[in-house]
């Protein structure tokens, strides 16, 4: 069953990459604001008028 060593190493590698990414995302302030990002994606195409209703932020 030594193949589990390979799988654990590969899984840990993936895990480690994401731990680093998580630490980076927190420290760089990605999650300081958890409200506006969800609103911001709604207003990225001001000139695209056809086929969608006008977006206004309240």
């Amino acid at each position: 069953m030594s193949v589990v060593i390979i799988l654990i190493l590969a899984s840990l590698l993936v895990g480690l990459v994401f731990v680093v990414a998580f630490i980076w995302s927190v420290r760089s302030g990605q999650y300081e604001d958890t409200t506006t990002p969800s609103l911001r994606i709604l207003v990225d195409e001001p000139q695209n008028k056809i086929g969608e209703t006008k977006t206004t932020l309240k």
């Binding site: 193949v3 799988l7 980076w24 990605q30 994606i41 000139q47 086929g51």
Partner: protein, 714 residues
């Protein structure tokens, strides 16, 4: 404050290209699925043509719908949303088109090689090694293109969808490389470097995570973008979406062993897989509720808008599949569900509902926007929705009934303590009507897709395609922490080295695996059961035919330690029996009986007649005829390269065995089988494929029948 406003263009051409092939491959993949479904109650539907027989087109169907339909749908959605989320054009147009044409070439390669029987037999990783290499290259191109776009983004915050895309790109690369470790034996033949139980563990670690990181995480990212956009309101809780992401990423990768419950896999690994599977319910349902609650107060829109209808059904299907999956990963439930059609029902609930419907919703959302017009017919799209939903119900419900019927009948004992249904055929004949209903459901679902294709075509005709959408945004300000040099790590990540990090990870993985695997694995291939011996040359070639024809699509080779299975098939399977199995052939599905102890059960002539026409020996059987095996000559030229490759992965054939002695042994064994066939009044030449296949089938499970089991402590 930076006021340096930049004007740039989003690339719509690449999105359109992926959208078109998504529709085309979707139709192709589902048509192949329908053909396979029809063969399950009408085996003659293969027209006695080997290239479209169930065993060969089942992997074609799964590969087409997963990697061609959902894969292209995923690229379509990512290329559209990533540019807008990053407020930047894709990093490199060349890489975008390399990604596109490379992926289509791989799909065409799969569509040609799988019917020809070039397969590794590892589920969802069937493609042979040259195509595997191409997949790795195209995937790296996609990954670099994505990271390049993220690095030149004009929006500091990375929306949660981007994180889901990143997880997809990195994890799929690791999974693909780890599971693709094979030893080539010619251009379109290779043997897994792992053997038996180890190969099974690697395969299902991959198989499970392919579902997780190819079918789930990218589509969750797409849901977090397209659902709020289509509803024109923000996601219910952005915080919850962040928790959803990080929880999934850290939990998913450990759940793979739940595909191997009650097999010869060690118990601790099975329990680990089960526990992590159950934990996955929490983030999955958090995500489902987050999606559905986004629509609170907007249900009137759902009534009108087909895009939202599809999304609601897709997110609900995601919730159902992610509750059902963990429940099926509980050992008690699994003892009933495994090998039955319940698994197929579960997979299609996720595939038709979650992936299919979300893809349709994205297509209906994107076409009017790409072509600057309204959808040609909203009414038709609504009909598509209801037809699709009806198709799903007609598909899934009968297959659930079939699965549970099979599971219960296999386990049923009569009051005298004998199997109630000792003949496997009885259990299959019982569920054949369900297979018919399933094909009707699939047809309804596919009809909806045709309606969508026509609707989208008319939409495109009515509108005018906008190749580039112009947009404006301020250049990304360098954060104060960069300016002050406080977080140098951030600077490192943001800089050029990111590309090289991606490339380095891939290189390190490939190099590392090549070095590590022989060291760990070959040494362990010392048999722990002394009587287990390598396959003879004729059996090796027979096993290759078994792989080519996709026999493991319907026949497992793994007897679980239940009385109902040992009574029916013989002694339960032990890990030590599979040490020379490159690749393992345990299978995951029983449309026919388990074959792990098939050797010696029937005379050679029975196998010959059964392969020629299964219904002559087993009336009512749904197995296709394999009459071409009786006439096609056995290619023994490949023997040296195959035995050589097997020796390189650790099967102890003596040095030089393949050049000479092997051919002599092969002829001797073939002559013996032809002699046995004569006793059964069958005349056959020694150089036919059927002889090799009979040799392999008669070998199965006989090693530990003939000698007492000696299990060494390990």
């Amino acid at each position: 404050m930076n006021t340096n406003i930049e004007t740039f263009k989003y690339d719509n051409r690449i999105v359109r290209a992926f959208a078109i092939v998504t529709v085309i491959w979707g139709i192709v993949g589902m048509l192949v699925g329908l053909l396979a479904a029809v063969q399950l109650f009408f085996p003659e539907a293969n027209l006695n043509f080997q290239f479209i027989t169930f065993g060969r087109i089942r992997p074609l169907h799964t590969n087409a719908v997963i990697f061609a339909f959902v894969g292209n749908g995923m690229f379509m959605g990512i290329y559209y949303s990533l540019q807008r989320l990053c407020k930047a054009r894709m990093y490199s147009d060349f890489l975008s088109w390399f990604n596109f044409w490379g992926w289509q070439a791989i799909i065409v390669g799969a569509a040609v090689t799988l019917p020809l029987g070039y397969t590794t037999s590892k589920e969802y990783a069937e493609l042979e090694w040259p195509i595997k290499v191409a997949i790795a290259i195209v995937w790296v191109a996609f990954t670099v293109n994505m990271f390049g776009t993220i690095l030149k983004r004009r929006e500091k915050h990375m929306y949660v969808a981007i994180w889901f895309y990143i997880a997809t790109a990195l994890t799929v690369a690791v999974l693909h490389i780890t599971n693709s470790m094979t030893m080539p034996a010619g251009w379109f033949k290779s043997y897994s470097m792992y053997a038996g139980v180890q190969d099974a563990l690697v395969q299902w670690w991959y198989g499970h995570n392919a579902v997780a990181f190819f079918l789930t995480t990218p589509y969750l990212g797409l849901m977090y973008y397209f659902l709020p956009k289509a509803a024109n309101r923000p996601i219910f809780s952005y915080r919850l979406s962040i928790i959803h992401f990080w929880a999934l990423v850290f939990l998913y990768i450990w759940a793979g062993p739940h595909h191997l419950l009650y097999t010869a896999l060690p118990d601790w690994a099975q329990s680990l897989g089960m526990v992590f599977s159950l934990m996955l319910i929490a983030p999955s349902w958090g995500g489902m509720l987050n999606g559905l609650l986004t629509l609170r107060g907007a249900w009137d829109k759902v009534r009108q808008d087909p895009v939202l209808k599809f999304m609601v059904a897709a997110v609900t299907a995601y919730g159902m599949a992610t509750l059902e999956g963990p429940l099926m990963a509980i050992k008690t439930v699994n003892s009933l569900s495994h090998y039955t059609d319940w698994t197929i029902a579960h997979a299609h609930g996720g595939a038709l509902g979650w992936n299919g419907f979300l893809t349709f919703s994205m297509l209906y959302y994107l076409f009017p926007r790409l072509y600057k017009t309204e959808l040609w017919s909203t009414k038709m799209a609504n009909y598509h929705f209801w037809l699709g939903l009806l198709g799903m119900i007609f598909y899934i419900v009968p297959i659930y009934v079939a699965g549970i019927t099979e599971g219960l009948m296999w386990k049923q004992f009569n009051k005298d303590g004998f199997l109630q249904y000792p003949n496997f055929l009885e259990t299959i004949v019982q569920v054949v009507p369900m297979f018919r209903l399933r094909a009707i459901g699939g047809t309804l679902y596919l009809t909806g897709v045709f309606m969508m294709a026509y609707n989208l075509y008319r939409t495109a005709k009515a509108g005018k395609f906008e190749p580039d959408t112009e947009a404006q945004a301020a250049a990304l300000e360098k954060g104060p922490e960069i300016a002050h040099g406080k977080y140098s790590f951030h600077r490192f990540l943001e800089g050029k080295p990111m590309f090289f990090t991606v490339l380095a990870i891939v290189a390190v993985l490939v190099g590392g695996m090549v070095e590590i695997i022989p060291m760990f694995l070959i040494r362990e291939n010392v048999p722990i059961i002394a009587s287990v011996k390598p396959y003879s040359p004729l059996e090796v070639l027979g096993r290759d035919i078994y792989i080519r024809e996709g026999c493991l699509g319907c026949h497992s080779q793994m007897i679980r330690p239940f009385r109902s299975e040992t009574e029916r098939y013989g002694d339960y399977s032990k890990a030590g029996e599979f040490v020379y199995d490159h690749p393992f052939l345990w299978g995951s599905e029983r449309k026919g009986p388990d074959l792990a102890r098939e050797g010696g059960k029937y005379p050679d002539a029975w196998h010959y007649n059964h392969m020629d026409d299964p219904r002559s020996t087993s009336p009512g059987s749904i197995m296709p005829r394999y009459s071409w095996l009786l006439t096609q000559p056995l290619e023994t030229d490949a023997l040296p390269s195959r035995l050589g490759a097997l020796r390189r992965v650790g099967v102890p054939y003596p040095a030089g065995y393949e050049n000479g002695p092997a051919q002599k042994d092969l002829q001797a064994q073939a002559l013996k089988i032809v002699g046995d066939l004569k006793l059964g009044s069958v005349n056959c030449e020694t150089n036919k494929e059927i002889v090799a296949l009979i040799a392999y089938l008669q070998r199965l499970g006989t090693d530990i029948k003939s000698a007492p089991v000696t299990t060494a402590a390990k």
